[in-house]
Structures are given as C-alpha cells and as structure tokens.
C-alpha cells in the first residue's frame, strides 16, 4: 500500500497538466479563498457592529451554533437542487461553514476590548465609529485572526465537496479514487489536504503576527523597538515590569 502510494506521488503525470497536483491544489485554494472572503465580508463587519453595540449578541450565538450544526453535504445537495450545478452551490455551502467562527471572533473581540480604553476614548471625544475602528477593532485583531484561521481550516478541509458536483480541487482524487477503488489515489488526496491545512495554518499564523497591532507585532524593518534596550527612566517610579522579549 505504501509502495503504491509512493508510486502514485512519483508518477510524472501527477505533477503537471490540468489533473496534476499543483493545479488541484490551486483550484482547492481558489474555492477556499472565495468562500472565506465572502464570509469575511459578511461576518466581520456584522460581528464588529454587534460587539460594539452589544445588541443582538444572543442572536449571534444562536445563529452561529445553528449554522455549525448543519450537515455540509446536505446543504450542498440542497443548494444544487435549488440553484443547479456550478460554482455557486459549493461556494455558498462553504460560506455558511466559514461564517460562524469569524462572526464569533469579531463579536467577542470587539466586545472584549478594555472597557477603560473605550470609556477613555469616548470621554476624549471620539465618535462611535472612531471608537470602533481606532480602539475596539485593533483590540479585537487577535480574536478576529483566530476566527479567520479556524474558518479557513474548516473550509480547506471541507472544500473537497466541490468535487461532488463536478468541480475540481483536491476532492477529485478522493471521489475519483473511490469510484474506481483506487485507494492510493484516495489516500494521496487526503494526505495532500492534510498537509495543505497545516501549511495554511502556519502561513496564517505568521501573517497574523505581522498585522496584530501593538507591542506583539512582528516588524521586518523600521523603528527598532527601543523599549527592549531602553535604560531605566529617571522617573522616580518603580521600574516597569518588563515583558519577556519577543
């Protein structure tokens, strides 16, 4: 079995052409990106506004949990029956999958911003939109990124269903392999999905470190972080508890 798996991976045809692994991976990532992007456009602003106003939080939790309980394949079949074949039904099904974690991340991130900072912002004369964009959203970034990452992983793993309705992506190997009982092909497809998930997770984690505002951000160039080497101030207050260097 292992030998046949290696054989499957090492066949030259596997690495080129419209049915090759690179093409399938790109297709797969394409479906993922499309679904996550659409879901983000819907879920992130909605979650942020609900988190800011604190209105409708219960509804969010209910809807998010409800969406999570939907069987993905059933949803896909339903959309195909309603809308016919094409890119739209699987994309919609994946969007429904991606919305709950991003909605929850944006909501809890914004709602969890330091109440002192929000009170100070309002007291200094920031308008509600400025409070949301300049104080709450930056505070929410880590949780939002967590939601985006979780949603993306789920979509990467689930985008195989696109192959059920005649589209490409890594699901092709699994479905085609299943129909002709070509188990090395099925296993190969599943392995690629798993590896792709891990790679996507790592890339997103790294990207997240660059876009997180504040002291934890990774910086490639520019201002050296002076605090790391800063001499103790002459201010007669106790020295600040330095955080471990990052």
């Amino acid at each position: 079995m292992l030998g046949r798996l290696v054989e499957w991976f090492s066949a030259p045809a596997q690495w080129s052409g419209s049915a090759g692994i690179p093409t399938r991976v790109l297709e797969h990532l394409g479906y993922t990106l499309l679904a996550v992007a659409i879901a983000a456009v819907i879920a992130l602003p909605l979650g942020a506004v609900i988190g800011h106003t604190r209105r409708g939080g219960l509804a969010v939790v209910g809807v998010a949990n409800g969406l999570r309980a939907l069987p993905e394949l059933g949803v896909l079949v339903l959309f195909v029956l309603l809308l016919g074949l094409g890119l739209l039904p699987p994309t919609l099904a994946l969007v429904l999958l991606a919305i709950p974690p991003m909605l929850a991340g944006a909501y809890s991130g914004v709602a969890g911003a330091d109440p002192g900072a929000v009170d100070a912002a309002r007291g200094m004369g920031m308008r509600e939109s400025q409070i949301l964009l300049q104080v709450e959203v930056p505070a929410a970034v880590p949780l939002v990124l967590g939601g985006v990452r979780f949603a993306t992983l789920q979509v990467v793993a689930t985008a195989t269903i696109a192959a059920y309705v005649g589209l490409g992506g890594l699901g092709r190997y699994i479905i085609d392999g299943f129909s002709v009982r070509d188990f090395p092909q099925m296993l190969g497809g599943a392995l690629i999905v798993a590896v792709l998930s891990i790679v996507v997770e790592l890339v997103l984690q790294l990207l997240g470190r660059f876009v997180t505002p504040g002291p934890d951000r990774l910086r490639l160039r520019g201002r050296p972080d002076r605090h790391a080497a800063a001499a103790p101030s002459s201010v007669p207050t106790p020295p600040s508890p330095e955080r471990p260097d990052r």
Partner: protein, 363 residues
C-alpha cells in the same frame, strides 16, 4: 467654572444616582467630590462631559449648558482621566498622548510634537514615549493618562479616582505632581475620590456627598476638618481630623529654641557638646545629620520641621503639623527645624507647639 444646577439622575431601572445636586466648581481651582461608594460622585462628574445625561437639572460649563451641541465636540474640550488610565494598548505612549490633538485636527507630526511637550511636563522620560502602555508601571501609566488629558489644552479637567489603583507611595508622588502642575497651569479641575485624605490634600474646596448624591458639606478642607456640619461628615473625615487640621495651621509664630550643636566629623568619638544633653550633629553644609545622645551614641534624626519650604512635596512645611511631628518623632524630645535648603535653624519644643495650638484652636 463648572456649575451644577439641581442635577438629578434617575437610571432606567429606577435607581436614583443623583437626587438634586447644586454646586459650583470655581475657575482655576481643584474641587474634590468625595463620599462613600454609591454617593453619585462619579455620576456627577460624568454629567459634565455628558458620559451620563442627567434626567433633571443642567450642568453649565463657562456659563453654557453642556446639553446643547455635539457631545463629541464638547468632550474634546474637556480633559478626562479615569482610574484604570484607559490607555490604548496598541498605540505607543506618544501616540496615546497625541490622541486628542489628532481629534482636534492637528497633523500627526504636530500632534506628536505637542504630545512630547506634555510628556515632559508631567515628568515622563523621553525614552518612555516610544514604549507600549503594557511596558509601564501603574504609576507611569497614570502619568500618561494625565498627559493625554492635558494634551488637548482644555481649561477643564475631569479626574475620576485617577490615583486609586496605585500603591500609596506612588499615589503621593502623583498627588504632588498634580499640585505642581496645577500651580503652573491653573486648570479648573473636578476630582472624584473616595479617599478623604486625598481630598483634603488636593482640594481647594471639598464637597462631601451622601448616598443618593446629596451634598452634605461643601467647604475648604481646613473648615471641613474644623467644623464638620454633622455626624456624617465628621464620621467621614475620620478620627484624626484634629491632628490633620494642624496641616492647615501656619506655625509662623513658633519660637525656635537653641540646641547644642557640633560639627559631625567622621570617626569622631568626642562626647556631647554639653554634658548630659542631646546634641545635633551638623554636616559640612550646616545640615543636621544625626542626634548625639547623652550616652555618646548616634541616634536617628527623626522627621525634621521645614520652616519655609515652598516645595509642594513637603506639604506640612511651615505648619503646626510639621512642627509637632518633628518634636514627637525626635528621640531627644525636641524636634529639629531646618530651612528650605535643609540647613539647621533651631529646635522645636513640644510645649511651644501646644501653646501655639491652644491659641489658634477655634472654640
């Protein structure tokens, strides 16, 4: 000037935050609102910048009803400091302080220049400007909070328990800093605290509130200590009020006595200047260093009485409290008096302080 006219606040659930408060915080003074929790002091403060909208009455700022116009616009003209400092964790210190100037329409460069000025003014080192709030101590964060409130150059400052969350030593430093800044800037400050000592230390006038936001007494701190209007106020100002009031009584008429003194040479084992008496050892610049006991041993000086300190840090300078404390804390039974530069001036006799106290006490 901040004027409360019959300001009342009834919350949506029916609880009464403020019954009907009338009070005037005078221009250029620190007015302190003090009282037990639930007395509505924070609620009153927050009606000034409309963080709380009163359900009755009006708040006037420089004669103008704050309820008119845009609240965000109003708030940009009022400095605001809160207990947790409320710094933005994702912005460096300098950009935190630049917040209000940016809101007022300054460019980022101008706002940062303004912020750097203010940071220096509140005694924060230049190196701290590029740090993140999480890298500062509680006291430093609070200083940044004050700097941020000053950066908008507002004539009015609202301070809601700004120093309650820091330790007592840092709190006193921050209080001194505020008094020093206030001597320079002359802002109209409304200051909320639950700490009567802080109220007495900082306030030009102190308003004591009861639960429900009813004003119990509104008076300068020495009057509050000398003549509390009722049991609530006297209970609130505490048991030591007689002693604390000494801090408001000048000791200008206090006669200093002569003490035996001697230069303090290192390793010197010579006995007291006058046998059987306590001797003050003076260093090379005439500053008292220690007591030399009749037994020939060195003793700690105790606290000294500063006769004419103009430093806000020595808040008991030139007062009966400082004089009495020097006398009581000295091992010799007599206190040592120094001038503003720390040079030896004479001795303080407990009996003289008490005699002076006897004459100045209101009957």
């Amino acid at each position: 000037m901040i004027e409360f006219r019959d300001v009342g606040k009834r919350f949506a659930d029916g609880t009464v935050g403020l019954e009907s408060l009338s009070l005037t915080a005078r221009e250029g003074e620190i007015t302190v609102l003090v009282g037990p929790s639930g007395c509505g002091k924070t609620t009153s403060l927050r009606t000034v910048n409309r963080m709380v909208e009163p359900t009755s009455g009006a708040v006037l700022l420089a004669g103008r009803d704050v309820a008119q116009g845009d609240p965000a616009e109003l708030r940009r003209g009022i400095g605001y400091v809160i207990q947790q400092a409320g710094l933005f964790p994702h912005r460096r210190v300098i950009d935190n302080v630049a917040t209000v100037p940016v809101l007022q329409g300054l460019s980022r460069r101008e706002a940062r220049a303004r912020a750097a000025e203010v940071l220096e003014r509140v005694g924060l080192d230049d190196a701290l400007a590029q740090r993140w709030p999480a890298q500062l101590s509680g006291g430093q964060q609070q200083r940044v909070g004050v700097a941020r409130a000053l950066a908008g150059d507002a004539p009015v400052l609202l301070m809601d328990e700004p120093f309650s969350a820091v330790d007592p030593v840092v709190r006193v430093e921050l209080q001194d800093e505020l008094l020093r800044l206030q001597a320079d800037l002359g802002k109209t400050i409304l200051f909320v605290t639950h700490d009567i000592d802080e109220a007495i230390r900082l306030g030009d006038r102190v308003a004591v509130l009861r639960v429900g936001g009813r004003l119990a007494q509104f008076a300068p701190p020495d009057e509050l200590l000398a003549q509390p209007v009722d049991d609530f106020v006297s209970g609130f100002v505490g048991r030591d009020r007689g002693y604390r009031r000494l801090g408001f009584l000048p000791a200008t008429a206090l006669r200093l006595v002569d003490l035996p003194t001697r230069a303090d040479a290192n390793g010197d084992t010579a006995g007291p200047a006058v046998p059987g008496e306590w001797t003050v050892l003076l260093d090379g610049s005439e500053r008292p260093a220690a007591w030399l006991g009749p037994d020939g041993a060195r003793h700690d000086l105790g606290s000294v009485y500063v006769t004419d300190g103009d430093d806000a840090a020595a808040d008991a300078a030139g007062t009966l409290r400082g004089a009495l404390d020097a006398a009581l804390s000295s091992p010799a039974g007599r206190g040592v008096a120094v001038d503003g530069a720390g040079r030896y001036r004479g001795g303080v006799d407990t009996d003289d302080v008490l005699a002076l106290l006897d004459r100045s006490a209101p009957r």
